[in-house]
Symmetry: C2
Subunit: 214 residues, 2 copies
């Protein structure tokens, strides 16, 4: 593990890990540094901390979580892409498999999208693929980007209404809270039901939780 690369080997891929959970950061570091061809050159607990860490370490690949209290991944990706459209290569590694998250990440400039239950060997291969310039996507991320996946994106307003309803609000109280009419709330809800493939609010809340929309 500490052996110098032989004269015929390329230098190890330099990786920075950005994730808010210590267990996950350590797990990823352990997985990657088990490979002689990869070296972890930095870690950060959130998007805010990530930018200076990456600027100092100059990695080839960044593993980026999305939802972190101390600075979300999308914002960090955007900031990185503002200064260099191609480097470092950014792999989003997250628990969220929603169209919205996948799209937002790729639109912001990520080069790959994987879920955190990825087996060790697949993660190592993904890092090398990224370093070699190849994209890395789960099958569902590919479907989301090519439109083959059923669209379940709720608009901001629809989510507003769903949140109030999930907290126990009636249509009437939701209307008062969101400063619209009850008819508007109902319209939004009917759209939510249609998009999520359900017929009532309880089921809508369930699907929203299962898909990490809430």
């Amino acid at each position: 593990m500490t052996a110098s690369p032989s004269p015929t080997e390329p230098p190890p891929v330099r990786v920075v890990i950005v994730d808010d959970h210590p267990v996950v950061r350590d797990g990823l570091r352990g997985m990657l540094e088990h490979e002689r061809s990869i070296t972890v050159v930095g870690e950060a607990a959130g998007g805010h901390e990530a930018l200076p860490v990456i600027a100092a370490a100059v990695p080839d690949v960044v593993l980026m979580d999305l939802r972190m209290p101390l600075g979300d991944g999308i914002g960090a990706i955007r900031a990185l892409r503002a200064s260099d459209a191609d480097h470092p290569r950014i792999l989003v590694l997250t628990t969220y498999d929603t169209d919205r998250d996948i799209r937002a990440a790729m639109d912001a400039g990520a080069n790959g999208y994987l879920l955190k239950d990825v087996p060790r060997a697949d993660l190592v291969r993904a890092v090398h693929d990224l370093a070699a310039g190849r994209p890395v996507l789960t099958a569902s991320a590919l479907d989301a980007l090519t439109g083959r996946r059923e669209q379940t994106s709720l608009t901001a307003r629809e989510l507003d209404v769903l949140r109030v309803i999930a907290s126990g609000g009636t249509n009437r109280s939701a209307a008062e809270r969101l400063l619209v009419s009850e008819a508007t709330v109902k319209t939004h809800l009917l759209h939510v039901y249609e998009k999520l493939g359900v017929s009532d609010r309880a089921a809508a809340v369930r699907v929203a939780y299962e898909r990490h929309l809430l």
Copy 2:
């Protein structure tokens, strides 16, 4: 890290890790073996695999997840306790903070209960505490065991009803499905609302998901 213990140091605490996610297993291994006083002597991906691994490795401490597809933690704890009431010391490390999980784990014979967002230093201390015979609990686990925490355990029947409702069932269809009257369904639901501190089904589903009851 590979140095032999000096003549005045106790032998390292031997630990086996049982968790279905590779990232988590590696993260835990990385955290623990960063300590010279701890050595990871085995890993398993589920309760079924854990028993022979533990029998072969004879650890001082087992870190055990609860809900794993290939054999749950409770069953594994019970099996271990059937052959030795005190060894190895078992620390449950999980994302679930429900009364039911905490109680089931401790009743089965676990010696500690922590959540997976535990900082590195706290986990290391917990392993040493356990090896020294001391219990290790989160504040909420302690409250759950001493009854200071508000009881939110739903009965089996209440959960049956909640599941049907979360799938979009009406009270009437739930009654038909569960072979009871609609009045019975309503009674169960009212009890669910009371226990979860909500007033309607949508909010009940939300709380159930937030507490991993569903």
